[in-house]
């Protein structure tokens, strides 16, 4: 506990129980991006998984839509402090893409249209923990929220859920992605408040 802020009372506490430390609840859906929103035509969209040996597996938009979709309801926690609870998505679990991919890699680098990257352990995007999501609240995902499709990895801070996802690179070694290279925590567990390097 830090120094007491004289005269600060804060909001009512009950809603805070479900929130990770330092987070506050928001009802809207803030947009945070480091640059302009890329405009991606669905007919040109592809998702590519490249293995550590260089083998590429590629899916088109139509192939994505043809895969069995799930409709996870998840809580979102952004490193900029807002949390949004019970959000409804439609997406394909990464397990489905990885089912026929032969790999012994331990890490993935996620790539996005526009150049964004983020790194994760492979085990954090398998076992039903991550999706390629293309609808939010039953509607096609808006470009500013990552549409046509974004990664959804809700158990980590939301910067790991890369917008405009274009692929995964399977890797033997872990390397920092975009924000991880600018001082944000490599792993980013909101429940341990791993916001910045050293947290």
């Amino acid at each position: 506990m830090g120094i007491v802020s004289r005269g600060f009372h804060g909001r009512a506490r009950p809603a805070q129980e479900k929130l990770p430390p330092g987070q506050y609840l928001t009802e809207d859906f803030p947009v945070l991006s480091a640059g302009p929103t890329p405009r991606i035509v669905r007919d040109n969209w592809t998702f590519t998984i490249t293995t550590e040996t260089g083998t590429a597996h590629r899916w088109t938009w139509q192939e994505l839509l043809a895969m069995p979709a799930e409709q996870p309801t998840v809580d979102l926690h952004c490193v900029t402090k807002w949390s949004k609870l019970h959000t409804g998505w439609t997406g394909v679990p990464l397990d489905a893409f990885l089912a026929d991919v032969e790999t012994a890699a331990d890490y993935v680098m996620v790539d996005s249209h526009g150049g964004y990257t983020t790194n994760l352990p492979l085990e954090d995007v398998t076992g039903g923990k991550a999706w390629v999501a293309y609808a939010f609240g039953g509607e096609p995902l808006e470009p500013e929220h990552g549409g046509p499709a974004r990664l959804l990895v809700p158990h980590l801070y939301f910067w790991k859920s890369a917008k405009w996802v274009s692929g995964l690179e399977l890797r033997d070694e872990d390397e920092p992605g975009f924000w991880e290279g600018y001082g944000y925590k490599n792993y980013g567990d909101p429940w341990r408040e791993q916001r910045y390097a050293g947290d």
Partner: protein, 250 residues
């Protein structure tokens, strides 16, 4: 691009509030003394943490409004009426009070004079704060990079740092300030009186052929519109850096 990563641990520090500056009716700058401040680059922000007497804590991020200046760090806070933290910072925190913070945070939405230019800055409302740190760094002896700053405000009484912006001598400083007022204009105003659009950016921003560095900060609608229009005008997406500075949560 330089990647000055923050490798060290960002520990919470206790700052002293040494001055408060009323910028507008809703916006106040807080001048803080942070004894172990490591320095920062224009565009970076701090996390502020408030603690109630029962241990409850609330954290928010605020942009730094000034370039590095020893142990002095100035943040500018807009009061969000239903916010949890900003009303306390704007209305309650007094000179001599202590405030917990840590930083600097963020390494991408930054510019310092050695990064070069030309520099185009577009601010919507209080999105001006991190851009003002860049302008102040440039004017305060930071080289000769030509700067154009476009500030969009609803009305004249909502312009933060208005007096300082008005004092900038374009010919002497090499920094040009262009304003647009979307709802109410100053008496006799002959300048822009609409939201920033592609046509305005075509007039005001450096041409894409000059390869300017563009920084856009403001509410989401402002940032989306400006960044999209800059791309349409031929600017490289990689030259356009954005940051949202909205009233969310406050």
């Amino acid at each position: 691009m330089a990647r000055a990563a923050l490798r060290g641990r960002l520990t919470w520090q206790v700052a002293d509030l040494v001055d408060r500056i009323d910028e507008t009716a809703q916006v106040r700058s807080l001048v803080l003394d942070v004894p172990d401040w490591p320095g920062h680059r224009p565009g970076q922000h701090v996390d502020v943490r408030l603690t109630a007497d029962d241990g409850y804590q609330a954290e928010r991020s605020y942009s730094i409004a000034t370039p590095a200046d020893g142990t002095r760090v100035t943040i500018t806070v807009e009061r969000i009426d239903d916010g949890e933290v900003s009303p306390y910072l704007v209305d309650e925190l007094g000179v001599g009070d202590k405030l917990e913070l840590r930083g600097p945070i963020g390494g991408y939405f930054v510019w310092q004079p050695s990064d070069g230019g030309p520099l185009f800055l577009a601010a919507g409302g209080s999105g001006l704060v991190p851009l003002m740190a860049m302008v102040r760094a440039r004017i305060g002896g930071g080289g000769h990079v030509p700067v154009r700053l476009l500030v969009s405000s609803r009305s004249p009484d909502e312009v933060i740092y208005g007096g300082e912006l008005g004092m900038i001598d374009t010919d002497q400083a090499g920094v040009e300030v262009i304003q647009t007022f979307t709802r109410a204009q100053p008496l006799g105003w002959s300048g822009y009186r609409r939201r920033v659009d592609r046509e305005m950016l075509d007039d005001v921003a450096w041409p894409a052929s000059d390869n300017p560095r563009c920084y856009v900060c403001g509410p989401t609608g402002f940032v989306e519109a400006v960044a999209t229009a800059l791309v349409e005008l031929g600017h490289e997406p990689g030259n356009i850096r954005t940051e949202r500075f909205g009233p969310t949560g406050g």
